[in-house]
Symmetry: C2
Subunit: 223 residues, 2 copies
Amino acid sequence: RLIYLVILILLFSLLNLWKWFPRETASAPSGGAKSTLWSFNLHMGFMILAWTVFATEGVLAYATWERSSFICGQPTRHSRVKVIHASLNFICAVMTAMGLLAIFQNHAVKEIPPLCSAHSWLGIITASLTFIAALAGTVFFLLAKKLGISKDVRARVAPWHRLVGLLAYFLGLATCSLGIQEKQGFITCASGAYCLSKTLLTILVILVYALGACVAYVLSKED
Amino acid sequence: RLIYLVILILLFSLLNLWKWFPRETASAPSGGAKSTLWSFNLHMGFMILAWTVFATEGVLAYATWERSSFICGQPTRHSRVKVIHASLNFICAVMTAMGLLAIFQNHAVKEIPPLCSAHSWLGIITASLTFIAALAGTVFFLLAKKLGISKDVRARVAPWHRLVGLLAYFLGLATCSLGIQEKQGFITCASGAYCLSKTLLTILVILVYALGACVAYVLSKED
Ligand code: HEM
Ligand code: HEM
Ligand code: HEM
Ligand code: HEM
Ligand SMILES: O=C1O[C@H]([C@@H](O)CO)C(O)=C1O
């Protein structure tokens, strides 16, 4: 089991490394026009960071901190893991919201009609599920005591939170891959059909799915 | 459990219905130029059919025919389910190969450089995994007795076949969704930014992921 966690950490680093390249190399087309306040690259950067790093760590928090002794040599207390899980997923949700703000404001300024791609609609579905999961998590797990919600109700909500959270996570990765594919279509290489920024986006998509497969594997081993 | 199988069957019908629309409506741009022998739509049609119908039924064969009494009122014999699983996946593999032939020949004639998108590389990975799974399945499960392969070896190969098969299946759906997103980028609506053929492709992507989520759910319940 340890091996898979190590692979994951390695993948994070890889993703982190590669992630910035397309942002830089791909910044020419939209960065060139200074007409926008929020750049398209903010959308892309926020979203990739939110999903490949924060959502991944958030979804795996229970697996990596509580159910395995990987990080501290011994399992972390449940109440503390809950805070870690919640914080990571809050960051993911906030970054997703900022990514949405960025793209809608960017497109409004450029007068590009909203929501005309498969990516954008899948993005709306993903974001909705994320906000539902975060809201439910906050109400039923973080504030349960203060709100006087019984253990019974929490136990009944838990599997649904888990289902919505998992759906949001994998749809988040899928949405990223669709967005990258769409972005790739907007890039025109200076020379011919192939260039670095296109190749990097292809590698990024493959890494996103490799990450998804690793997370699915780790979660399936956990059950 | 039955409910989920019913949902699946419904989804197939839906997918089948919607599937043909984009093929028709989207055939205008490439169908116009009579320069190609194999149409781009063949690629799209083969691939969607192969993955949403045949691969799905193939991957779920053991769940729907052997481990549940859904279809015949009683579980089907293992040896027969093996033949069903193999046949469906053979059809999927052959249709995938034909879909690849169609697009490579289409692009060769049009002199479009090959393999410059994230979709195309993910497609190559998916197709390779599919052919590996089908080859391994044929050698180790269909022809095992004739080739004198021991039960022990078969038992050791089985989980790997399962892993490669599942990877191929979910990557197949992902590849389809990326391909649809890419295709959507090539479509220009006659009036403004929105039109039926774009909307249908968006719905198709969402259905593909709904299908994937249902299959993941059914398989996770099975274990
Ligand atoms: C690598 C990550 C991503 C890239 C490269 C990317 C790329 C793009 C591109 C090119 C557009 C403009 C095309 C259009 O209007 O449809 C867009 C729009 C959009 N994206 Fe993303 N995206 C990414 C991640 C995400 C994620 C994870 C979400 C949601 C959780 C999302 C939600 C949206 C939405 C809702 C729009 C539509 C905005 C509008 O129509 O004005 N994106 N994205
Ligand atoms: C932000 C506030 C959140 C809180 C307080 C919270 C709390 C929790 C708790 C207590 C559990 C354990 C449930 C159990 O007993 O099985 C859990 C599991 C889970 N949550 Fe959250 N959650 C939050 C947000 C999210 C978000 C936004 C997502 C999705 C992106 C998410 C995805 C998951 C998943 C996938 C599990 C199952 C993990 C596993 O079993 O390893 N959560 N959450
Ligand atoms: C709905 C399903 C699909 C659609 C709409 C679709 C669409 C496309 C499009 C528009 C291209 C041309 C762009 C390019 O050269 O990159 C293409 C190429 C390609 N597709 Fe698909 N695709 C689908 C499914 C698949 C599947 C399932 C696979 C593999 C298993 C696949 C493998 C490929 C490959 C390898 C190429 C590259 C061919 C070349 O570069 O000459 N496609 N596809
Ligand atoms: C074409 C020849 C094939 C044969 C003869 C074959 C045979 C088998 C057999 C005997 C099993 C059961 C293994 C066990 O004991 O757990 C199995 C499972 C599986 N196969 Fe295949 N297979 C073939 C092709 C494929 C292909 C092409 C795929 C992927 C698209 C695939 C995906 C799977 C999956 C996902 C399972 C696990 C299903 C479950 O546990 O419900 N197979 N296959
Ligand atoms: O719509 C299409 O997209 C591809 C390719 O032409 C894009 O350049 C193709 O073959 C079509 O028919």
